[in-house]
């Protein structure tokens, strides 16, 4: 295993930190428009045929897109077990709500058009709306909470413990800054969904999607700017208080962490990371221009750029922190002390290097096969095969 010797533990950790970002961004770029489309459904489509057009734009692809999310969960488990353990149980009820939304969504896609009744379909339309809007909002709220720090601590056995009872824990997530992050998240995915509908539909539906997309994009940009300002003025960051060993054992308790200072000091230390927020703003601006002028493919690409910039900026700002703790900062999880072992990270990297290119290739092929607009004739003429 010469390669294994060549890639240091700390390098592998950075690679896996970046891959975690790739998976989350991959999820936002693909399943993101599915969720955006679901949340836009009641606003852009008024008749049953219009709704079916909207649903069928994502009909053949949402299932594959959703795997980015499931793989994200699996990859966190494999590469960052403490993060998986602490965050999923710490956000327990919020996770449960997300799960419920994500379970109802696949079922809604499959079952909605399998019966004719208007009440049946209206109910599933609601499910699609909630299945898109709720996760889109809560993922942002979770990210906001991560930036603020989460009230957990690790015992000496590294068992995660949480403070406060269940109601406090769930409602406690809904802090103002976290809600703002939620607004940014849902509005950027609405914009993304609109850019997708602009590409895949025509006529009235596309026109409505463009109008809502422009509003959502402006909210996203404004909210993102406000969140940056808030981070600069009112929110404490986290920093190491002792020398860290980037290739040390994965035990968060070995390092000392202070809660104070600003997250944004990262921009003084590593000025190049300013590229990410700039990409975010630029991407949104160009998406807005594209939506107004009716450009199709490029608008979707600019929307992807904007989302990539926004998500990347969170990770880059916090690096090397992944999940800071407010009640016991020393328990905070960082890139240097919350990963899997050297061997597991290496094996997972090899597997990813083999399969990720394959996944991208066949996904691209599927999108190419399905290329083109979904029209009203498509859905009314193929009622037995489409949704």
């Amino acid at each position: 295993m010469i390669l294994f010797e060549m890639i240091d533990f700390d390098t592998l950790r950075v690679i896996w930190w970046a891959l975690l970002g790739v998976l989350l961004i991959g999820f936002a770029l693909t399943d993101g428009f599915d969720m955006g489309v679901g949340a836009l459904l009641p606003f852009v489509a008024k008749t049953d045929v219009e709704r079916r057009v909207v649903i069928n734009t994502v009909g053949p692809v949402w299932e594959g897109n959703q795997v980015w999310f499931i793989l994200g969960g699996g990859a966190i488990f494999a590469a960052w077990p403490p993060l998986y353990a602490v965050s999923f149980s710490g956000f327990y009820l919020a996770m449960f709500v997300v799960l419920a939304a994500l379970i109802v969504r696949p079922v809604a896609f499959k079952y909605r058009s399998k019966r004719d009744g208007a009440a049946w379909r209206a109910r599933w339309d609601w499910a699609l709306f909630a299945g898109g809007a709720v996760p889109a909002l809560l993922f942002g709220v979770a990210v906001g909470n991560v930036l603020l720090g989460v009230p957990f601590h690790l015992t000496e056995d590294l068992m995660p413990m949480y403070d406060g009872n269940f109601a406090v824990k769930f409602l406690g997530l809904l802090r103002p800054f976290a809600l703002l992050a939620g607004v940014v998240s849902i509005s950027m995915l609405l914009m993304h969904g609109a850019a997708w509908l602009n590409l895949k539909t025509q006529g009235l539906v596309a026109a409505r999607a463009r109008r809502f997309g422009v509003i959502a994009g402006m909210v996203a940009a404004g909210g993102y700017a406000l969140a940056g300002l808030w981070l600069a003025l009112g929110i404490d960051g986290f920093a190491f208080a002792n020398e860290v060993t980037p290739n040390g054992p994965s035990n968060p308790l070995y390092s000392q962490v202070t809660h104070g200072g600003s997250w944004l000091s990262a921009y003084a230390e590593r000025p190049w990371i300013a590229v990410a927020p700039l990409m975010g703003f630029l991407g949104i601006a160009l998406t807005l221009r594209g939506l107004v002028s009716g450009r199709e493919v490029t608008t979707l690409l600019w929307s992807k750029l904007g989302i990539t910039g926004i998500i990347a900026s969170v990770g880059l700002t916090m690096f090397p922190f992944i999940l800071p703790s407010t009640v016991d900062p020393n328990s905070s999880l960082t890139v240097w002390d919350a990963s899997s072992s050297h061997q597991t990270l290496f094996i997972m990297l090899v597997v990813t290097a083999i399969f990720m290119p394959l996944i991208l290739m066949y996904t691209a092929w599927v999108y190419r096969v399905l290329w083109g607009k979904v029209t009203e004739d498509d859905v009314t003429g193929n009622s037995d095969t489409v949704y």
Partner: protein, 536 residues
């Protein structure tokens, strides 16, 4: 330790996992049956096979949606409800789950959309390839999930690291080629194939009884009975393989399934029927068949299979040995790099029994302070619920053998009796539709309940693995799942019934075009009548 929390967490996991497995076996088997039907279509060009592919594909789709949706719960529940487990073994257990996503689930989920939406966008051969990719993806999924589960039954290729307070992988190769995982994989997918075959035969039998779609129904039975016969044989043979591997990896589970209280001199008898009594540690009214157990478990006439009482004594020794490891671990944790090499050597020598010391955490915070009575109690805890395992296993095995008989009969009628089935056999085929699900759920029950009190056999006790949530958290989520899953189940069943009642979609234009070509071909070749169809 809050026992209420542990029990609620177990209940929720068992419920969501068993619910998930209502949909998985049908997905595993039906994906392959559909791909086979489409392959026949591509080879013969007969529209009936395309119609069959579409019809069974539609039912596959209804089932698949819930399989995927409930699978998401499984992927996240380890972190949500079993956070100490996730920390403790995530370095090993997480890898197969992530690989499942990369290698299998992406494949199946990406192409399943194209399967339904791609009929007009792909060539025949392309579409058939898509169907096979969905089937291969589903089955590879099962492989990686069972590698993960196999590791919980037989934790090979891993060691405890005192620095990180968790198990870490030492050999990926050992984890993947774990004998338990390999035997379980083939056993489980074969069970899925049997389930799908019984389902297809049952629905087809219903059509034959109702005198409709007879062409489709007969052909479906022919395909399903052949596929089902091979699979039913494989389930039983590979189940036997699982039993053999359990005799040296999970001795306690095997002894509990067989209600073997005392070590019997080789070769041990097999208790066919009896009433195990855990308190008295004996089996009432036992009907024994000599030699059989020894042959199944050890494949020899001379090797002994240890009984429960001896295994409890062994567990007690291992607890005492594990306490030496635990004591060393506490010093290593306090002293870190300053620890003497001798102490580390002591830890290494006893670390394989560390998990047994952790069994005491149920009774005391520091296992070193456990009393003699508590040690005895913890050793007794290693005996799982004998009665339920004994019966669950026997019902599963009886069902397994009966599937062979059913498949054999239908295969014989389909192959050698011109696809004519007596009415009683059709009624029977409809009636047995639920049985493979019962067998599959009982199989999982034996595997997981039989592993108690461990989540990872000999390494991590179940009571220690849970997340420290409040009971209220659990009650809310549990109630949510019960309501939610019940509603979804009712909807799923009603759609299945609706689409089975509606029957296959007739592609009239295509069928007529094909018939014209067929008549033409027959006239030009041998001049026989066009409808000399042996199937009718």
């Amino acid at each position: 330790m809050e026992i209420g929390l542990v029990e609620l967490s177990r209940l929720q996991f068992a419920m969501t996992a068993m619910y998930h497995f209502l949909f998985v076996p049908l997905t595993l088997g039906l994906s392959i049956l559909v791909a086979i039907m489409e392959t026949v279509y591509v080879m013969t060009n007969r529209p009936i096979w395309r119609q069959m592919t579409k019809f069974w594909g539609m039912l596959f789709g209804i089932n698949f949606a819930l399989g995927v949706a409930t699978g998401i719960t499984m992927e996240f529940q380890f972190g949500m409800n079993w956070s100490y487990y996730s920390h403790y073994v995530g370095d090993i257990f997480g890898a197969p789950l992530a690989i499942e996503g990369l290698m299998a689930f992406f494949l199946e989920a990406t192409f399943v959309g194209l399967f339904f939406f791609g009929w007009d966008k792909l060539s025949k051969v392309q579409h058939m390839v898509v169907a096979w990719l969905v089937a291969i993806g589903s089955n590879f999924s099962a492989l990686w999930i069972l590698i993960a589960n196999g590791w919980m039954q037989n934790p090979v290729g891993a060691a405890f690291n005192p620095e990180t307070m968790r198990m870490e992988m030492t050999s990926f190769f050992d984890v993947v080629f774990n004998e338990v995982a390999q035997a379980k994989f083939v056993h489980t997918v074969s069970a899925g194939y049997v389930t799908a075959s019984v389902f297809v035969m049952g629905v087809s039998a219903l059509y034959l009884l109702q005198e409709r779609h007879k062409d489709l129904a007969r052909r479906s039975i022919a395909v399903a009975s052949a596929f089902g016969l091979a699979s039913a044989l494989s389930v039983v043979v590979l189940g036997d393989e699982s039993g053999y591997s359990a005799s040296h990896t999970q001795k306690m589970k095997l002894a509990a399934i067989e209600a073997m209280w005392e070590t019997h001199e080789a070769p041990a008898p097999f208790t066919a029927i009896g009433f195990p009594d855990k308190e008295a540690r004996e089996t009432h009214y036992a009907v024994e068949i000599p030699w059989v157990m020894g042959l199944i478990g050890t494949r020899s006439l001379t090797q002994e299979i240890p009984g429960i009482n001896d295994l409890v004594d062994e567990a007690e020794l291992r607890i005492r040995d594990g306490l030496i490891a635990y004591d060393a671990l506490m010093t290593i944790r306090a002293e870190r790099d300053a620890t003497s090499p001798e102490l580390r050597a002591t830890f290494e020598a006893h670390s394989e029994n560390l998990g047994f010391a952790l069994l005491l955490k149920r009774y005391v915070d520091d296992p070193r302070e456990a009393t003699e009575a508590q040690i005895k109690q913890a050793a007794n805890d290693t005996v799982p619920g004998v009665g339920p395992l004994f019966w669950a296993f026997r019902i599963m095995v009886a069902l397994g053998f009966s599937f062979i008989a059913v498949m054999l009969y239908f295969f014989y009628r389909a192959s050698f009796r011109r696809m004519q089935f007596p009415r009683w056999s059709l009624y029977a085929a409809v009636a047995i539709i639920p049985t493979p699900w019962i067998a599959a759920e009982l199989g999982w029950f034996v595997a997981e309940f039989g592993r108690q009190p461990w989540t990872v056999d000999g390494v991590l006790p179940t009571a220690l693995s849970v997340s420290h949530l409040s009971v209220a958290d659990l009650l809310i989520s549990l109630a949510g799942f019960v309501i939610f899953y019940t509603v979804l189940f009712v909807i799923e069943m009603s759609l299945m019934v609706k689409y089975i009642r509606k029957g296959p979609f007739q592609d009239v234009a295509e069928t007529e075009a094909w018939q014209e070509r067929h008549i033409h071909r027959l006239r030009t070749h041998d001049g026989q009548g066009p409808f000399a169809n042996p199937a009718e």
